[in-house]
Each structure stands twice: as C-alpha cells, then as structure tokens.
C-alpha cells in the first residue's frame, strides 16, 4: 500500500510540472506587451527598459519560467495589476468560498442522485424513474449559468424567497443561517450537471448489481428488501465514491460561471473580474491553483479507491 | 528435389517489460530452429500452444525481426533484403492466419479485402478486383459474395477469403498458421481439402502449422515437432507417425485419441507436469522436467541431433550412441 501511494505521488510530479508550464505559457500568448499595462501612456523608452528588466522580461523564456516557478513554489503569486494586492491572499480567501459552494453543490447533488438513482433502479416503471431519466438528460445538457439565472428569476425575483447575490445579507451579520440561505440557489445551479451524471451512473450501477447472483441468492433465501438494499449499497460504494470524488473536482473547477451569476466571492468570480480588467496574474494564479487542487483531489480519489478495492493497487 | 525455403539456426526472444519499461526478463520463443521446405511439398509443424510456431511463421514472414539465423529463399537469405527486392520476395511467401474473425478487415468488402494486396503492389484497382474475383472463385466462394462484408460470412467462408487473399499475389509458398483450428470439424475437412487442391492447382509449397496431429498427418510430407521454442524431432511424416523417437513426440501421440485402432503401441502415459515458463526454460533438454525417461545427462549439455534414419532426426541423448536407435520400446 505504501508503495502504491509513493508511486502515485511520484507520477504526479511530472503532471504538476506540466501544469505549471502550460499555465506559464498561457501568459506568454497574451497579445500585446505586458509592460504596456503597467506603464503609463506617456512613459519613455528608458522607463520601459527599466520595467522590463525589473520583471525579468529580457531573460530567455526558460529562465523566466524557472524564476516564475521558484516564486510560485514559495507561495508568491505576484501582485494583482488592478487591485494592487497580493494575488496569494486574494486567492486564498476566494478558494475557501469556492470550497464552501462546492460542498453545498455536492451535498445537494449527491444525496438527491442517490435517492433518485437507487429508487429508479428498483422501480424502473415509476414516475420517479422517468423523472430521473429527465434529470440525467437535463443535467448534462443544461448550461449551469442559465440554470442560475432561471433560479434567480423564479425564487428571488418572482417569489422573493431566497437571496440572489453574495454569501451573506447586507451588513454581513446574518451568521451561518444567513449563509445557508445564500447558498441554496448557487448550490442547486452548480450541482445540476453532477446531479445528472450521478443519477445516471448510480441507477445503472444498481441495476447491474440487482441482477448479480448474490442478490438473487439473497432473494431466494427470503432476505428482507432492507437487507438486500444494504448489500447493494455496500457493493456499489467504491464506484460511487470514485465518481463522486471526480465530480467534486469538477464542482471546484466548474463553478466559475455560477459564481459570477450569484456574485459568489470565489475563485470563479475573481477570475471573471480579472478577465474584464485584463488582470492576468490573477487569471494565471487562479487557473494554476484550481488545477493543483483538482490534481490533488484526483490523487485522493485514487488512493481512496485503492483502500476500498485492493485490486486497484496491483493494476 | 530442391529446397525452396530453408531456415538456418533461427532464434528469437522477446523482452518482457516491467514497471517503467525495465526489462524483467526474456521469453525464448524460438531457439536455434532449422528447417527445410522442398519445392511443392508440405512441411507440417506441430507442438503445444506457446511452443513458438506462430513466432517462427512471423519470423519467416519478416513481421518481426530475428535475433539470429537465416531464412533462405531459393538459396538467398531474405532477412536482410530491403526495398523492391524485399517486396518481390514478400509476394512469393504469403500467409493464412489463425483466426478468420480477426484476419480479414470487417470494414472492407470481401473483394477489397483480397484486392488490397494487389493494389498495394501497384495493380490498378479495376484489374485488382478482376483478379481478386478469380481467386475468390478458386477458393469456392460464390460470385455474389464479392461485395458483401465479412460480418455476413461464416468462419469457413472467412477462411476461404483469407486463403484467396494469400493466393492473389501468386505466391510460391503459403504458410498456414493454425488455419483450420478455429473452424468446426466438418468445415475443417473442407478447408483442408481446399488446401490440397489449391496446392496442386497453383504448384504451391506449404508450411502447415497446427497443434492437431491428425491434421498435420493428413497434410504433410515432412513433419517438425516443436517444444518450448526448440525442434525436438523432424523427418518424413510417415516415419514420424509410425516410429516416433523423441519422448515428447511419443507423449504427444499418446495424448491424442488415435484415429486408427491398434495404432497406439506406445506406453500409455500422458504428458505429466506443467509446461515450464518460457521465461526461464530448463537447461539442457527443455523437455526434461516432464520427460518420463529423464536421465542425469539431460540437464547438462544441449541434446544432440541424432539421425535416426536418413532425414529423420531426434534431439535426445537417448539415441546418442550411433547405431543403437532401439534403446526404447
């Protein structure tokens, strides 16, 4: 087991290096001279050279990359061009909020998909099963930013039940109940795709299991349906956990659009603002940070899978 | 008669790759194999699964590179030919593969499966199709099948397509690697008969590979018995079948239900023990771990190739003393 962990961790290093290279190159393809965004319009040629030197832009690309990588490893993500703040600090708070939203969305989608998925596997002719089918199809087709707008239109504007922006009410003193209320709509919107994917997956996994010999034997022995259900759930846990783990990764990375609609102060919102202000250090660091989290989450899923299902270790 | 094809001391081993591409060891698939095929004769190769029959065929076809040895076609080593010379020889030696479900392209029509070889050799498409049709007819497929796709054909019919494809380049030598083992018994008989007929009609020399002793007996003039990548016995088919010498050949003949009654005069022991791993084959004689007549000498040197009678050799220490070939029975 220890060897397996070590192997997986070692294999992650080239991936992470590759990620940093791509993120670094991303900034290189930005059209126009980055110096222009820093200098005032009336800057002289001397000013320009000085700034270029300060930023190390006169160095070869490889040197630039290495020094950028070095700074990044030390946790120095540079300064926001517009906000004039440490990108690191900005990102750290935003990441926390993104996590909160991802947890909310995961909570909503995992539980609902489990209920709908298992139920419709058991009762394929019921209306819930048809509903599950619809959810599955809708989930993978609906743009989540549109779902967000629809939810706001209905629940905030027309019905006035739930807030539509931010993490807390005016004044910010609402406490955790206030935050929960703010979380509901974004969580639903962000969790839509996951709900669809997981409902489909859970249903087909459970249907497969219900046809397995051991379930038929249990039935023949006269086991209660509760006991059978427990057996089935136990057997599909590894699959569900793996998919759930990956989906959580997508929720972290994929909520950019939902965050912007709800003005949820997460990484997505930060990146959105940065795009309109052409604040590239933030975009770069944001993409990098989320990707690293994504890679780590995938690693955790792999390891978890190996713990539950020892066959994986030897594959 | 002249030898049209000769193998001289052919060896091939495959590296086995482990984690991160490290070589964990090698499989000695074919080791120091020599054979000869006479013009318009049939050489049968028998042996258990994994003994290197297909590897030998692939080596002859130059589908894989030999480690050592030569393959002489009409006296010329073809293993280091390149370019157009290689192309010429390729046309002379064609192969029919084991699995008719894998050996023809399901996405090309029957006729294009056959014609492909031709148009790859510069024949215009129209002409290639005409010729393909001729050979489809020769292997007994109705014309109406030509534009069908392989999925609508039975295994036997597919194998006929594969044979037509091998013949369309007008080869002199055809290597049939387990060409009938995937077919039903009744279909097997038809295809074997087809091979016999085609051989006469097109003056072919055949190398017929099979693990089925009856099939090989029916087809071959000469027989070569292989075990774990090595030749243990070879000679005229009649001799080998009536008077097998190597303990492995004897064991092999014992383990099949004989077609003729009263034929099995040999002692009735099946081959005992497991087939050793080809990754580290036994030293000396590779059969010694399972041989009922094993002696101390077997583990030492390589067994000598003893000539039992003209053209009939067995690689076994039991026959080492010249003129004392009746040690057994």
């Amino acid at each position: 087991m220890f060897q397996f962990i070590l192997k997986r961790c070692l294999l992650m290093i080239p991936t992470l290096l590759g990620v940093t290279i791509i993120v670094f190159l991303m900034l290189q393809i930005v059209p126009g001279d980055p110096v222009n965004t820093i200098l005032p319009a009336d800057a002289t040629e001397e000013d320009r050279l000085r700034v270029e030197q300060e930023l190390g832009l006169d160095q070869p690309l490889v040197v630039q990359y290495l020094s950028w990588l070095g700074r990044t490893l030390e946790g120095d993500f540079g300064r926001s061009i517009i906000k004039q703040l440490e990108v690191g600090t900005l990102l750290f708070d935003a990441m926390k909020n993104t996590f909160i939203l991802a947890i909310g969305a995961a909570f909503f989608s995992f539980i609902l998909s489990l209920i709908i998925g298992v139920y419709s596997a058991y009762h394929p002719k019921s209306w819930i099963a048809s509903f599950g089918n619809m959810i599955g199809l809708t989930g993978v087709s609906i743009p989540n930013f549109w779902a967000a707008l629809l939810l706001i239109g209905l629940f905030s504007v027309i019905l006035g039940w739930l807030p539509s922006t931010g993490m807390s009410g005016v004044g910010g003193g609402g406490g955790s109940f206030d935050m929960l209320k703010h979380m509901i709509l974004p969580s639903i919107a962000a969790g839509m795709t996951t709900l669809g994917v997981m409902t489909r997956m859970i249903r087909s996994t459970v249907i497969d299991l219900l046809q397995k010999d051991f379930v038929i034997t249990l039935k023949a022995k006269g086991a209660s349906s509760y006991i059978i259900l427990m057996h089935v759930l136990k057997n599909c846990t590894p699959t569900i956990l793996t998919v759930a783990g990956l989906q959580f990764g997508y929720l972290i990375g994929g909520s950019v659009l939902v965050e912007t609609v709800f003005s949820w102060p997460g990484v997505g919102q930060l990146i959105y603002q940065a795009i309109s202000q052409r604040d590239f250090p933030i975009i770069q660091a944001g993409v990098l940070m989320v990707s690293i989290v994504f890679v780590l989450l995938n690693l955790m899923v792999d390891l978890l899978h190996a713990v539950i299902d020892p066959r994986v270790r030897h594959a | 008669m002249e030898n049209i094809l000769e193998g001289v001391n052919i060896s091939k081993s495959f590296p086995i790759k482990g984690f991160l591409g490290k070589t964990k060891g090698t499989v000695s698939a074919v080791h120091d194999v020599s054979f000869s095929l006479k013009e318009q004769a049939t050489l049968g190769i028998v042996g258990e699964s994994g003994c290197g029959k297909s590897t030998l065929a692939r080596l002859i076809m130059r589908l894989i590179q030999t480690d050592e040895g030569k393959v002489n076609y009409r006296g010329e080593n073809i293993l280091n030919l390149t370019g157009s010379k290689l192309q010429d020889v390729r046309k002379k030696i064609q192969m029919v593969f084991q699995n008719p479900y894998s050996s023809i392209n399901p996405k090309l029509s029957i006729i294009d499966n056959v014609a492909f070889s031709l148009w790859e050799n510069g024949v215009p498409k129209e002409e290639a199709r005409k010729k393909a049709l001729y050979y489809l007819d020769a292997v007994g497929l109705p014309k109406s099948y030509a534009l069908r796709f392989p999925s609508s054909l039975s295994g036997g019919q597919r194998q006929r397509v594969a044979i037509a494809r091998a013949l369309v380049l007008e080869p002199e030598i055809v290597i049939a690697d387990e060409a009938v083992s995937a077919l039903d018994k009744s279909v097997q008989a038809q295809v074997l008969k087809l091979f016999q007929e085609l051989k006469k009609e097109f003056s072919l020399s055949l190398i017929f590979i099979s693990h089925d002793l009856n099939v090989v007996e029916y087809m071959s003039d000469e027989v070569m018995v292989m075990y774990l990548g090595k030749v243990v016995e070879k000679g005229p088919a009649v001799q080998i079948y009536s008077n097998p010498h190597h303990p492995y050949t004897q064991a092999l003949f014992n383990s099949i239900p004989s077609m003729e009654v009263g034929e099995s005069t040999l002692n009735n022991s099946p081959i005992n023990g497991e087939l050793p791993s080809p990754m580290n084959p036994p030293s000396g004689c590779r059969f010694r771990t399972r041989c009922p007549l094993v002696t101390e000498k077997c583990a030492g040197d390589l067994p000598p190739n003893v000539e039992i009678s003209p053209g009939h050799t067995a690689a076994c220490v039991l026959y080492e003393r010249v003129g004392n070939e009746k040690v057994l029975s």
Partner: protein, 299 residues
C-alpha cells in the same frame, strides 16, 4: 471515410449495382429511426439549424436595430413573439442570427479536435513506443485542468473573440479525442488483418487509411458527436463571461450576459436565449445517443 468506402464499392467492374452492399448504411438508419427520441431530436435540431442559417430571410426584424422605448417586452408581446431585449431589439431575430455563431462554436471545435486529436491518437496508437509516450504523456497533462478553466485561461490569454473561443475549446477537446482514438487503434492494431496487410508489403500510410481508420472511425465519430453539446455549452459559457463576440453582435451566450442585468425588471427575460442553448445541447445529446446505439458502440 464512409463515403470513401461506398465510393470504392460503386465501382462495378464485375457486378451489377443492384447487388451492391449498402445494407450497412440501411441497417444503421433503420436502427436509428427506431429510436424515437433520437429521431425527433434530429428533426428538432434540423429545424433549429436550418432556421439559423436562413435567419436573413425569416428573421422578422433587423437584429441590431431596436427602439429603446420598446425595451424588455415580455414573451408574446405584440409584434415581438419572443419579446425584446434591453435595447428594444427583437429577441427572435437576435436568436436566429446569434444561433449561427453559437452553433458554429459548438461544432467547429469538435471538428478541429477530431482532426488533430484523431491524428495524434492514430499516430500514437499505430507507431507506439517513444512516439506514443511523447504524445500521450503530453496530452495527459491537460487532464489536470478542469475543462472549463483551461478554456477560460486560454481564451482569456488569446483575447476576446469567437475565433479564440473556438481555438481554446479545440485545445480542451484534443486530449480526450486523442485518447479514444489511441485506444481504438491499439485494439485494431492487434488484429491479424493488419499483419496480413504488412505481409503484402503495404505501406504504413495505406494500412492506416484502409485498415485502421475505417475500423476506428465510428468509435471516434460517436465520441465526437457526444462532445458537440459540451462544446456548445462551453462556448456559450465563455461568451457569457464576455470572452466571445463584442456587442452588438448577437450570440446566445452574450445575449444572456446582456440580459442578466435586467432580470430584476423582467425575471423571465433570460429564458429564451438559454432555452435555445439548452434545447440544442439536449437534442445533440439525444442524437449522439442514437448514433451510439445504432452503431452498437459501448463506451
């Protein structure tokens, strides 16, 4: 490649055309037509696509001209079936014109990724060894990014514009297409007909063309069709973030972006553009599922 195939068959050197075997295409259509939802989805999708292409003819208004006094009309308003937007422009007309770009941004990246990713995958799968390692390990790195974030990063760096969105999404889709193609090629490469072709001295190029491509085509094709809906949603998402066309050009994503500010005045104003993205993606998904089932491909 499919037309290529039938093209060869229609060469009636010997046989009359009646006996020509095009039953495989018939079989495919028969299976597909039996799949009701997929068939209906194809019709609906066809209507949407054709309407957007014919926008200049059938659109009731100029998509760029609107009266500000007539803004934010609700659905079903007089003269404007789908209402008007924040500048009083007819939403139906803008939807029709905007659909051209939106649908294009859904399809083109998949085409590009299909070509580039497919070629890379075929090369990696066919030649194996070092070539495989270099291509596939490099592409693996892209899996470390959440797709949407990678697309955002690239198109933000390239700058605003639908063309840059298309480039960004193409890059995102190349690795998965390459993976599918590579694993399909690896499977086909083991088949004996590849060896048989090599014994005839066929060149790599012809082996790939006649034996490999034809056998992996349907798998890669089906995979690509399932990606079109994702590409469509992704493209409209990037556009929604303001990375796509610049106003006043119409495009579904950017329409949503412009209208989202008005949601507190007219809560249903965002329904229509989003609905078109959604319906298009949904029908594409259904059609892709239909293709997959009709071609009997398991993924």
């Amino acid at each position: 490649m499919i037309t290529e195939n039938t093209g060869q068959l229609s060469n009636p050197v010997i046989l009359n055309k009646e006996e020509k075997e095009d039953s495989r295409f018939k079989e495919f259509s028969r299976r597909f037509l039996k799949n009701r939802p997929a068939f209906l989805a194809l019709i609906l999708l066809g209507i949407i696509v054709i309407s957007t292409i014919m926008a200049p003819i059938i659109a009731p208004y100029d998509p760029y001209e609107g009266e500000i006094t007539n803004r934010l009309q609700v659905i079903g308003a007089e003269g404007h079936i789908l209402g008007t937007d924040e500048q009083g422009r007819d939403i139906l007309s803008r939807i029709l014109y905007g659909g051209q770009l939106s649908l294009l941004a859904g399809i083109v990246p998949v085409l590009i990724a299909g070509l580039i990713g497919g070629s890379l995958g075929v090369m990696a799968g066919y030649f194996g060894g070092m070539i495989n390692t270099i291509i596939m390990r490099t592409l693996d790195i892209f899996y470390a990014f959440p797709a949407i974030l990678l697309a955002i990063g690239i198109s933000a760096a390239l700058g605003q514009g639908i063309d840059n969105i298309i480039i960004a999404i193409s890059i995102v889709f190349i690795p998965p297409v390459a993976r599918i193609a590579e694993s399909a090629v690896k499977e086909v490469r083991e088949e004996e007909f590849i060896e048989a072709a090599r014994t005839t001295g066929a060149k790599n190029f012809s082996i790939i063309r006649y034996h490999i491509l034809m056998n992996i085509f349907s798998r890669v094709f089906v995979y690509c069709t399932t990606q079109i809906s994702i590409s469509l949603v992704l493209a409209s998402g990037l556009s929604f973030l303001g990375l796509g066309v610049s106003p006043p050009t119409a495009e579904w994503g950017v329409m949503l972006n412009n209208l989202k500010e008005q949601i507190f005045i007219n809560p249903l104003v965002t329904v229509i553009p989003g609905l078109f993205i959604f319906i298009s993606a949904l029908t594409i998904n259904l059609v892709a599922d239909g293709f997959r089932d009709a071609l009997e491909i398991k993924q």
